[in-house]
Symmetry: C2
Subunit: 120 residues, 2 copies
C-alpha cells in the first residue's frame, strides 16, 4: 500500500458513486496534486488485482470502480446516468435462475441493468 493507492482507495470509499479513472484522478488531485492519470490507473489496477475494488464495465464506456466487495449487480439509470448497487435477495444466487453450463465453476459474475426510475 503506497500513499497513492491509499488515497485512491480512500476516495472510492468516501464517495461511492462509481467514478471512472478520470473522476478519481480529478478527486485525488486535491490531496496529491502531483499524481498522474497513469498512476491512478496503476493504483486502480493494483486495488482490483488485490480484490479491494471491483471494476465495473458497461456498454463500452469507461470503467467505473466500486469498493463494494459483495457479489452484486449494477443498475444504470438511463435518465441521470447514475449507477447504484443492486443486492441479491438473501440466500439467492444466479444459479437459482440460470441454467448454468454443466461443470461450470464461476469465478466472477457481472450483472448490469439498464433502465429508469419511475416515480410512484
Amino acid at each position: 500500500m503506497t500513499p497513492q493507492r491509499q488515497e485512491v482507495y480512500r476516495m472510492l470509499l468516501e464517495k461511492r458513486d462509481h467514478p471512472s479513472a478520470n473522476d478519481v484522478f480529478m478527486r485525488v488531485r486535491g490531496r496529491l496534486p502531483y499524481i498522474s492519470l497513469a498512476t491512478v490507473y496503476n493504483c486502480l489496477e493494483a486495488l482490483v488485482e488485490h480484490g479491494l475494488v471491483k471494476q465495473v464495465n458497461f456498454e463500452r464506456g469507461s470503467s467505473r470502480y466500486c469498493p463494494n466487495l459483495e457479489v452484486h449487480g449494477h443498475f444504470h439509470d438511463a435518465n441521470c446516468g447514475g449507477i447504484v448497487d443492486v443486492k441479491f435477495k438473501p440466500g439467492m444466487t444466479l444459479a437459482d435462475v440460470l441454467e448454468l453450463p454443466e461443470g461450470a465453476v464461476i469465478h466472477d459474475v457481472e450483472i448490469n441493468l439498464r433502465g429508469q426510475l419511475v416515480l410512484a
Copy 2:
C-alpha cells in the same frame, strides 16, 4: 436491409460463436470481398438498433455480436476463451433473485459469467 447487412446477419446466424466486429469482417469477405471494416461496424450497429442482434460487452475487450434475441446471459470460459449462451430457468427472471430499486423499469439486462468448465 442492404446486401451487406444481409450478409453480416447471415454470418451471425450461421456461426453463433459470438464473433467480434473484426471476426465478422474476416468471415464476410469470402462473399463480399470489397466490404470495409467500417461498413461491418455500420451493419452491426444497424442490426443492433433494429433489434435483430445483441451486442455483448465483456471486460473491455472488443464487442461481440449475438443473434439470440431471448433474454439470456453469457458464460465466458477462462480456458478456451469461448462464450456460450446461458438461459434462464423457465419462468424465472432476475427480479426473483435481485432486490431491484424501487420503481425501476428495466430496459435491458446484461449478465456475464466468467469461469471454467471442469470435466466430471
